[in-house]
């Protein structure tokens, strides 16, 4: 079984290493670590390199529109230790939301970030080729947002 690591522990580990970047834990079916958007890249790098954690496999990047904020969810798995963690970050600026890109950490983020950017309108800063992917260039709006009709 893939073990979902205790979000509280991971949060504490991140806080100990990179202080002032976590915002606690989102409870639910699968508790997730909530982090500040600007620190995502640094935290991901830490999660990938840290012995004992080594999240080498980026499962999915998801954008969710909660109307008052946009959320980006990272599902991470370590093939080595067979455990996983969920990372969430919230952006409150609906006009120009931006999150650092993690392509430099996992190449697998490449197309997924483009997709989230295309459909949810979240800019991933530092992405090498951030263009629309599903829709055509010049398309107005971002269809997966709740205010897109």
């Amino acid at each position: 079984m893939t073990r979902l690591l205790e979000a509280r522990d991971i949060s504490a580990q991140i806080e100990a290493r990179i202080p002032g970047t976590t915002l606690g834990v989102v409870s639910g079916k699968d508790p997730a670590v909530l982090v500040k958007p600007e620190a995502v890249l640094e935290i991901c790098r830490f999660l990938k390199r840290e012995p004992g954690l080594e999240f080498d496999f980026l499962v999915a990047i998801t954008g969710v529109d909660y109307i008052d904020h946009l959320e980006v969810v990272y599902h991470l798995t370590s093939l080595k230790h067979n455990h996983s963690v969920i990372l969430k970050t919230r952006v409150y600026d609906r006009e120009k939301p931006s999150v650092p890109s993690v392509v430099s950490v996992w190449q697998g983020a490449d197309l997924q970030e483009r997709e989230v950017c295309d459909l949810m309108g979240i800019a991933f800063v530092g992405h090498p080729n951030l263009k629309r992917i599903m829709l055509w260039e010049g398309f107005q709006g971002h269809p997966l947002r709740k205010d897109y009709l």
């Binding site: 079984m1 893939t2 639910g28 079916k29 699968d30 080498d56 496999f57 980026l58 499962v59 999915a60 998801t62 969710v64 529109d65 969810v73 599902h75 093939l79 067979n82 969920i86 996992w106 190449q107 697998g108 983020a109 490449d110 197309l111 997924q112 997709e115 459909l119 629309r132 992917i133 599903m134 829709l135 055509w136 269809p143 997966l144």
Partner: protein, 367 residues
């Protein structure tokens, strides 16, 4: 007069015999050698994720049929698993067995098609493809007995499956399980040692294990690179922990290994099916679930080992009758991340074969 050469840019697709649908590649050639390639997506984009937000939880099942349309059962399964996780529903044991049987049957069907089209890309004029369709047809017949449909099944339900197996399913299934290993041996005898096939696929398009993991590649492509990662083994959903099966692994990570892994996986699927048909208990096939499911507020992610790789559904609920957000983690789409790095420096003919060996399905790539 001095000769001057210049690279040419060729558009492969969206309509091309071997882009497996409507994929498009903008390729720059220097002679026959690829110096640049840019994948272009979106020609089959239907906005499944947005559509799901307007449908009830049960209705979304029909949308999942249209993702990877050669392996609809796996898509059904991944979605209902996510909703069941969200609601905390446990399907009856018989339903779980039936689901596993369907998922494995569809894996065989999908691999047959994947291999057949790979051989077609290699230029074997439709003969292996037709041989493989012969068996796929039998699997489609089995599905037709079970749910009446041959492509878009919509067979799984939240809390179980739509209906119990019909009595005529058992003899047909027994016959299929008896014949299938022989057919797989036949493919292997015909193809495995073929000189031209070896020359065309061995060491072509090598995907190193670390690159594969870093690129989020999953499924037979990851195992072809020698990474022993199979969700049926690593994170057993349903009742996969009750079955014995091996994980076929590649050694080099080339096209030939991916080919062999798929061939061997079909054997393992037959093995699982044999065990499942033996163990399957009597009982109900559906938990009592209300017609309109209203999961509690929250989110859940569930994944299955679909024929193409890790298929996951991330469902967010706001306690209404429709999902608030339904994200599809589609293996075909994410497997294409590494395509560019894999084809650079190879020849035109190799590119087609490498792309074919990744076995993507455009319905799932563009969603």
């Amino acid at each position: 007069m001095a000769f001057r050469t210049e690279p040419i840019t060729v558009n492969f697709g969206p309509q091309h015999p071997s882009t497996h649908g409507v994929f498009r590649m903008r390729v720059t050639f220097d002679g026959e050698v690829i110096v640049d390639m840019e994948p272009v997506f979106g020609y089959l984009h239907r906005g499944s994720e947005k559509l799901a937000e307007e449908r009830t939880y049960t209705q979304v099942i029909t949308l999942t049929d249209r993702l990877d349309y050669v392996a609809s059962m796996s898509n059904n399964l991944a979605y209902v698993l996510a909703v069941e996780k969200l609601c905390g529903i446990n399907p009856p044991e018989r339903a779980q067995y039936i689901r596993v049987i369907m998922a494995e049957l569809v894996r065989i069907a999908s691999h047959l098609m994947g291999l057949g089209f790979l051989l077609n890309d290699l230029g074997a004029f439709a003969t292996p493809l037709m041989y493989m369709f012969r068996e796929r047809e039998k699997i489609m017949d089995l599905f037709e007995m079970v749910c009446g449909a041959r492509i878009t099944f919509s067979y799984m339900r939240i809390g179980g499956v739509a209906e119990d197996l019909p009595p005529e399913f058992y003899p047909a299934m027994t016959r299929f399980l008896k014949e299938m290993p022989g057919y797989i041996d036949e493919y292997e005898a015909l193809l495995r040692e073929n000189e031209i096939l070896l020359a065309r696929t061995k060491n072509v398009g090598i995907l190193q294990p670390d690159k594969a993991i870093n690129g989020s590649v999953s499924g037979p492509n990851l195992r072809g690179s020698g990474v022993p990662w199979d969700l049926r083994r690593a994170d057993p959903y349903e009742i996969y922990d009750r079955f014995e099966f091996d994980l076929p692994l590649g050694k080099v990570g080339d096209t030939y290994d991916r080919f062999l892994v798929r061939l061997e996986e079909m054997r393992q699927s037959v093995r699982i099916l044999n065990q499942a048909m033996e163990q399957i208990p009597k009982g109900p096939v559906r938990a009592s679930v209300p017609m309109l499911v209203r999961p509690p507020i929250g989110d859940a992610y569930a994944h299955v080992e679909a024929p193409k790789g890790e298929l996951g559904f991330y469902v967010v609920s706001d306690n209404s009758i429709a999902p608030y957000r339904c994200k599809i983690r589609s293996p075909s789409f994410i497997n294409l991340t590494v395509l560019r790095d894999m084809v650079l420096g190879w020849k035109l003919a190799d590119m087609i074969v490498i792309f074919g060996s990744l076995d993507v399905n455009m319905g799932e790539v563009d969603r």
